[in-house]
Every structure is written in C-alpha cells, then in structure tokens.
Point group: none
C-alpha cells in the first residue's frame, strides 16, 4: 500500500504559506502504516494538476489531494479529478443543506458558485467538513489508484483527515501487520560516527530497521519493526536497542520524538531532588532559559546569574579579581570559581558555569569557540573542562548549553548514591 | 524561466519534520522572478530520486535539490544526480580543507565518509557551506535542465541559498528588468490587521507589490519593484514605504530579511551608550540570552539576574518580602521592584524585569499567560505593564521577551535626548 500526497495551491509555490497539510497527512499515513514515497505541490492550474494526477496515479495505490475545493474560479481540483476519472460531479445533499443553512444564518446571499462546494465525483464516498463548507471525497477505484479529496484550509483539512479519513483508511487498507517504532536520542556523537559504528545494523536491515537522522546538535535513531502484534514488535525493538546501547550507550540520553537533553536531565533532577543554579558568561542566560523551559523546574531551580562583564563575575558570584587577572577570564580557574560562587550564593546541590569566547572576535588572545564549562556537583570537587566549538556565535552558545547539560547527565549517572 | 524544487528526505515523507526548505526556496525564486509550478518531496532512495529528477528535468529549466548531501549511506542526492548527468564526482579542495580543519579543531577522528561531503558533480560551480561541511553545487547544462544541489539542514540550506545561490540565479538568468525588494518588519500588529489597513496597497498592486508574511511573533511586508535600474526601483519602494509608515509606522521596528527586534534595539543601545540589565522570573534568562546573541552587546550589558524563586527575588535584587507577601509575586509592584533592584545592583541606564505565569499550571490564582513586565529607563519613573499571552509555556516566554524589547524600543523612541 503506497500513497502520494498532492497539495494544490499557488500560495505554496510562491512560498507565501507553509505546506503544513502535507506534513499532517504524512504523519497520519505513517501512523496507519501506509507507505508514502512522494509528495507533490502544484498550483491552481488544471493542465498541470492533471499532469501530476496522472504521474501520481501511475506510481501509487492511493493519491491524496488537498486544496482547491472552494467556491472560487481558482478551485478546480475536483473538476480536474472527475475529468481524469471520467465521472460526473454530483451534489451531496447533506453538504448542500449545511451550505444553505450557513448563508441563512449569516444573512448573506448565497451566490451560485457556493453550490460547487457540495459537489463530489460520482461513485465516491463524501467526507463531511466540520470546519467549513466544502465536502471531501474518498474514491475507490477497482482498476486504477484510489483518490481522496480534502479541502485546503489547514483547520478544515486536519479535522476531516483525522476524523473521517483515518478510520476509513484503516478499514479500507487495514493490514495484518502494523509498524511500530521507537526513537533513540544521542548527544556528543556525530551522525557519521554513529553510522560507522552501527553500519552493519543499518545496512543489513532485519526485522528492525535502523535509520539515523542528524538533528541540530544531536542525532536520532529510529528503530522500526513490522510485526503482527505490538508485543512482538516491542520485543524485537528492545533487542535491537540493547545491541545499540552495547556499542554507543554512553551517548544515548533518552527516547522519544518530542524529547530533549534538557527535559531528560531536568526531569531526572526533579525526581532526585537535586537543585541547580548557574553562572553564565558567553551563554548569557541561555542555559538557565533552556532549563526554565521544562515544566516543574521551579522545584529545583531558585535562579542564577548572568555574569557577562568581569566586574559582574566578581560582584555577583565572588570570582576573586586575582583569578581573573592572573589566569584570565576564559580559564579553568575562572570557570571553577564561577560554579563554586554561584552554588555558594544560592545553596544548591549543583551549579554549572560557562565562560568563553562566543565570537565573532577573539578574547584574551583565544579564538572564538574556546569555552570553559565548570560543574559543581554535590560532594565532588568542582571541575572545569575546555572545549573548542565551531560555527557562529549562536551555534557556539547552543553547543555550550548542551555540553553543560551533558556534564550534569554524566555526573548523575556516575553518582553512586543513585545507582540501583 | 521555470524551476522545480525537490526536497530529499525520508523524514519529510514520514511527517517528522516540516518541509521549511521548499518554502524558503520558493520565496527566493518568487523574489528573483523565476516561476515555479511544481514542488516534489522524495525519500533517500536512489531509484525514486532518479525518477523524480527525470520528471523534473523534463518539465523545467532549472531543478533545485535540497537534502541528502551529508556523510551517511542515506545521503545519495549528488551521487544520483551525477549518474543522471553522466559526470563523475570531484572533490572541492576548499571544502576538503574546511572539513579537515574542523576535525582537527574539535579533536575528533575524521571518518572516511566525511570526505564525501566535499564532492560535487564535475563541471558544476561549488557553493560554499558557511553553516556546515557539505558543499553545494550549481550545474549549468547546455542541453538539459540546470541543477542546484543544496544541503538539507535548514540553517545550512538557507544561508547557502541566500548568499550563494540567489546572486548566481540573478546573474545566470537575469532579465532586462531586475526585481528589487525590501523587507519591513513589524511587531505588535497581526497579519490580518496589517492586511486590512493596507488592503488597497496589497490588492491594487502598482509598480511596487506589497506582500505580507506572518512569521513567528511578527509580520513582515516585502515590497518589490521591477524596474530598469536600482535607483528607479529604490525611489518607488521608498515612496511605498513612506505611505505604509504613515499608516502603521509605530509597529515597524526595522528592515531586512535577517533582522530581529533584539538586533535593532541592542545595536541602537550600543550606538547610544545605554547600558542594560534584567531580572527574569518566568523567562528564566531568555531575555538576557536573546540580547547576548547580538555581537558587541558586552559594551552595554554587564550581566543580570535570574530570580525564579521568591527567595531569589529578595536575595538577588532586593524585592522587599513585604511586596511579595502583600501584592503577590505576579504583580505590578514586584515587577517594578525587580527592575529597580536589578538596575541598582549593576548601576545601568536601563533594566527590564519579567514576572508571570509561564504555565502549564496557574500561580497565585492567576492563569498561565499572565505576565508583568517592568522597565526602568534612565530618569523616567520605573513602570510595569500587564499582559495576557496565549499559547504554551515556550510561546508565552518568547512573547514576553519580545514585548520587553519593544518596551525598550518605544522608550528610546520617546526619549527627547535622542530626538534629532
């Protein structure tokens, strides 16, 4: 079973609106286990629309068209499809009633072109539009591809797809086996390194396929299994995850599509009642802002310091002037003093500090990207590590924040008090 | 001149990421006056990719491929294109040097597959990637369609497209008359309100077309003029901008595609030698992190405070316990005391404070989205304003930061010391 999504709309081609409809439909198809190998966008032009329908019908079992069902002269999707299918358009009585009622209710005259919104290709199943007036349709063909017609406005499309289309897809194409997947998230290892270490698992795909994706500052692996039951799929995925963790487990910080290093670390700290503060120079509050994005962080995060200028490092977190003068502001000693001082001020269990060169200019003779990150962790001696990040100012700061979180994650993992 | 955009990536087909690249490229093509009638998405599969390249080359003069230039086995776009063009892949020495330097700098081993990122089809012009390692390419063919290869990560793609591709498109396909455009940026007014107020200018497009785009938290207007010379276009655009500013100028904070409220406000403050600090509760450092992103901010920003817990508000910026007890922590009095206290600590010209309910839970009986923002500005009395933002935790915090910046912008604009 293979489907193609065709979004119809000149606005998308001009870059005036994002093609959110195709993303929504693509997610839904993945969820019901229908493969989708192509998406197309075409404008409100009947010749070009007919051409892409022809191509899509040849290479797929199902073609989903979104857009161009409205009442204006531009809206020609169902007319074009009906011509391709060689069937007439017929009126859906239920939709016609909704349209008539609507115009009565708002007290406006119903122009004839509004009737167009109730038309659908003869032989199709009409799909109700609960957020608008244009009817959708599901056309099952015995000898060509099947077609689904959806309205273009995202609110109308999403509701119709979720409530009307998805159940019908499962009914029409429901498979024996279902696809299950799990996302593993990695920090501190590149996509290419991960792909090299796991090359045999990625190449010789068995019951479980392994697909790496490079995200901003991290890499994910999607493990997918096709199996008769969720239990069987889960067992296969568990086994593959164990194999992967045996090789690169130290870099794997968590699971899930909508997860992040900050969420994992902060939720773990909330659960363990580990409080935190920070003193930030080059990151200028970005570390604290990032942990502040996790709901519930207030239980462990009283606040902290942005110590951009040298004087603020001394005034706010008691970095000795002598340390700055003798060791430099971008130094191990300053990073340690910042973490130490911040923790002392707010009496927390942990503190992270950041001092370095965000760029574009160098500082104290050190190039942009030189960063010291300090960590004060419970009864451990306060330490700091040196990094050399690449990229622009924003990239260097983002990377610093994530490495700070990863240092915390590793410190907690090594903490014997929390070992099972 | 007609171009098709092909986004390559299985993640887009699975609905895991939005296809923002195609939108960005589509906008750019519209700006340089190149028609685009089709967009395609295809996965990381060489047979299907070859098939869509074939179709696109037949129906267009130019095909732009984005995605699949990385170092993993999944990344096959340039290999597939080279096969279609029947040319070998060759190494770009400049990119190879960047890759080698990168791995030396970060002190990690360079795996052989990383060399792949320096390859491009022989005969093409390599396009430098200033946000990543994979080189792009512009292949002009005498007897088939031309091709452009771009990386998939949006940061890399957008910068390469804007700085490398757009000028080359204009040079390669430049028309008699050129299109010039200017972007105006608005904060604090919705797209629909702006479209209503400027309806006549948008609808009856004359020499200068006016196109509104809704962005996250702001709206932009792109003014474009097609004219024989840059001078003539600039004069027409100037006139239109004056007309627009006469109607909604108070909301227009700046110009330019790659601009932001933070850049405009902070650069203005640097020029005027106005120093700043902040005390942040719900935003947890996001305001300071945002201004910290502007190069040169260190001249006016010594540092500041994240005062998440009530005790930290008292301890770090001297909010009287009595104020919190009697007025509540989400209150005008607390916001004023925070701004006042932060400024007093670091002796700056200005200070901004944020206290409110980021959610998801309510606080002190006030719903998520209730935010007080305080501003201490030079010799003006310190004041605070109440806002009710909608959306999730992150949206409420982002909105708060931007409103804080806008309050500064308006305070500076009203400051008679800086009037010409």
């Amino acid at each position: 079973m293979q489907a193609e999504i065709i979004a119809v709309g000149t606005e998308i081609l001009l870059g005036q609106i994002m093609n959110t409809n195709s993303t929504h439909i693509a997610q839904g198809l993945a969820e019901v286990g229908i493969d989708s190998y192509y998406q197309t966008v075409v404008g409100d032009n009947p010749e070009r629309l007919a051409a892409v329908i022809e191509i899509a019908a040849q290479r797929n079992d199902l073609v989903i068209l979104a857009g161009g069902l409205g009442p204006t002269n531009d809206d020609l999707t169902k007319q074009t499809l009906a011509k391709y299918l060689n069937v007439p358009l017929v009126e859906d009585a239920k939709t016609m009633q909704v349209i008539t009622d609507h115009f009565e209710q708002v007290g406006r005259e119903m122009t004839p072109n509004n009737r167009l919104q109730a038309l659908y290709p003869a032989g199709a199943t009409p799909l109700m539009n609960h957020n608008g007036l244009a009817v959708g349709a599901f056309y099952q063909s015995p000898d060509s591809a099947d077609f689904i017609l959806l309205p273009g406005p995202p609110r109308e499309m999403a509701l119709m797809f979720d409530t009307e289309v998805k159940p019908q897809l499962q009914q029409a194409y429901g498979q024996q086996s279902q696809i299950y997947s799990r996302v593993l998230r990695f920090f501190g290892i590149t996509e290419s390194k991960l792909a090299t270490v796991l090359n045999d698992l990625i190449e010789h795909q068995s019951d479980v396929t392994v697909a790496p994706y490079a995200k901003t500052n991290e890499v994910t692996l999607r493990l997918s299994a096709q199996a008769a039951s969720k239990t069987a799929a889960k067992a296969a995925i568990d086994q593959m995850e164990a194999e992967i963790n045996g090789r690169v487990g130290e870099f794997c910080y968590g699971r899930g599509d909508h997860n992040s290093l900050a969420k994992v670390v902060i939720n773990d700290m909330i659960a363990k009642h580990l409080s935190i503060t920070a003193a930030e120079s080059l990151t200028a509050g970005q570390f604290q802002s990032t942990i502040g994005g996790v709901p519930g962080v207030s239980a462990i995060f009283p606040g902290g310091f942005v110590t951009y200028a040298n004087a603020a490092k001394h005034q706010l977190v008691n970095v000795p002037q002598k340390v700055i003068d003798e060791q430099g502001v971008v130094s191990e000693a300053t990073a340690i003093a910042m973490a130490h001082g911040a923790r002392a001020q707010l009496a927390t269990d942990t503190a992270v500090s950041f001092t370095g060169v965000a760029g574009p200019d160098e500082l104290e003779g050190q190039p942009a990207g030189t960063v010291w990150i300090g960590i004060a962790y419970r009864n451990q001696p306060t330490v700091a590590y040196e990094y050399h990040f690449t990229g622009d100012r924003q990239k260097i700061r983002e990377r610093s924040v994530l490495v700070g979180l990863d240092l915390l994650r590793r410190a907690i993992a090594a903490d014997t008090d929390f070992k099972k």
